[in-house]
Amino acid sequence: MAKTLVWVEHDNASVKDATLAVVTAASQLGEVHLLVAGSGCAAVADEAAKIAGVGKVHLADDPAYANALAENVAPLIADLMGHHDAFLAPATTTGKNVAPRVAALLDVMQVSDILSVEGPKTFTRPIYAGNAIATVESSDPKLVITVRGTAFAKAAPTGGSGTVEAVAGPGDAGTSSFVGSELAKSERPELTSAKIIVSGGRALKDADTFQQIIFPLADKLNAGVGASRAAVDAGYVPNDYQVGQTGKIVAPEVYIAVGISGAIQHLAGMKDSKTIIAINKDEDAPIFQVADIGLVGDLFNLVPELTGKL
């Protein structure tokens, strides 16, 4: 049976949800082992050990791993891959940063952003912004994979009985350092785990209007807030709001697209949502071709009215 090693995404305090879908993907390949690399992160390893179906949890606790710098964690993972057959990471910005570096160290061609496991070495993955789905088979002796979180069910966060084992890695490679971060603080649900998302496009005019129109509706629905690339580029909201091919991939129960025309790059990021609702003044906008429910009209009247009536 294949032994897999799953990258646990965390903030040194708790396990991030993105990990759970990766555990499901890994369990389809074989035994699931985890890696918690961080600093002062023993509690994360204990939490991770409770994820259903998990075996061993490798805990690499070292200041060099505090911020998941790829230069430092990739050699650690490459070492651990001496006795694992597959490395899987979520297709988050952390996973996408680290996994290819591991793959190159192992001389393996990575399989990015898988949607399904079709066989021991066969996977499907989106190409051309999701306009085509490729089925690929790896011929490498080891696998390095990133997993699209919305494509796999989340493993139960409790019920497992993994064992934590401390591992030491090569530590600080000495070529990079973490300077700081500007993390968005929001009371709203995170985009990638929100059940409902309200997303705004360029039609929102400016940052103030975006806030006045989109935020009250999102608050009423306890929804996450997203945006099209056009809205982010225009500076209405920060980059971490972007939904699309190169932003976040989301699949909530309900996705409400406000003033978004539906460029293919945007659709690539949200078309797996269960129900899509579009509000747009242009009845020929491509968003209506994927929307389950469409409302044609002026968003500046319709959205406040909707917010008021909910």
Binding site: K96, P100, N131, V136, A173, S176, S177, T246, V254
Partner: protein, 250 residues
């Protein structure tokens, strides 16, 4: 400091790709091709660093078919100084790992201190080459760059991450991959397009760098994604509210 910028010829951003009926791939016959948009941002960033006096020479590199020369000419017209095409036969797709090995070969030959490339190509959406080059060369990587500044013998990169932005400091030589908001690439002016025609462009082969481009991943098939069909249109907000209530979200 010499900068190496890697660019890929891909289907144009505005073209909707069509899957071939026989399921072997995406139909690229008679389709408009352009420089990968993230790579345009990489070229622009190198030029801006040169304009600041940080970078002294920009070498543009592409791994691809003979027609990738056009992509390199675009980079030269924007402001790159020289170009290298590592040419493969038409229809041969070189995987990120092999591309990374070629980039390493060229970077060593050129003694490039800074390698800049797009974070992903919009055809295979792999998002791997920059990280792999960095790994193969033992260099630090600043992926998904939103802001790049060279400070002495280090490059400071502000990165776009899921939760917002993060800043890392990398010892040079280093690899940077670009995200969308790093800059807005310039258009090449007509005089510069003319001038680019006489800038040096050399053609090499993967074997010149000892790289085997045989694929490690076998594409078994390429298919259309499941299509969503258009639903209904409601007449007014009241009808929408009624629908939301039916769904249990309001």
């Amino acid at each position: 400091m010499k900068a190496l910028v890697c660019v890929k010829r891909v289907i144009d951003y505005n073209v909707k790709p069509r899957v071939k009926a026989d399921g072997t791939g995406v139909d690229l016959a008679n389709v408009k091709m352009s420089m990968n948009p993230f790579d345009e941002i990489a070229v622009e960033e190198a030029i801006r660093l040169k304009e600041k006096g940080v970078v002294t020479e920009i070498v543009a590199l592409s791994v691809g078919p003979a027609k990738a020369q056009e992509t390199l000419r675009t980079a030269l017209a924007m402001g790159a100084d020289r170009a290298v095409l590592v040419q493969v036969d038409d229809g041969v797709e070189v995987e990120p790992l092999a591309v990374a090995k070629i980039v390493k070969g060229v970077a060593e030959e050129e003694a490039a201190q800074l390698i800049i490339t797009g974070k992903q190509a919009i055809d295979d959406d792999s998002n791997q080459v920059g990280q792999m080059v960095a790994a193969l060369m033992g260099r630090p990587q600043g992926t998904f760059a939103n802001e790049v500044s060279v400070e002495g013998d280090a490059v400071v990169v502000k990165r776009e991450i899921d939760g917002g932005l993060e800043t890392v400091k990398l010892a040079l030589p280093a690899v940077v991959t670009t995200d969308l908001r790093l800059n807005e690439p310039r258009y090449a002016s007509l005089p510069n397009i003319m001038k680019a025609k006489s800038k040096p462009l050399v053609t090499k082969a993967p074997a010149d760098y000892g790289v085997d481009v045989a694929p490690r991943l076998k594409t078994l098939k390429v298919s259309e994604p499941a299509v969503r069909s258009a639903g209904i249109k409601v007449a007014d907000v009241d009808a929408l509210v009624a629908k939301l209530k039916e769904m249990g979200v309001a």
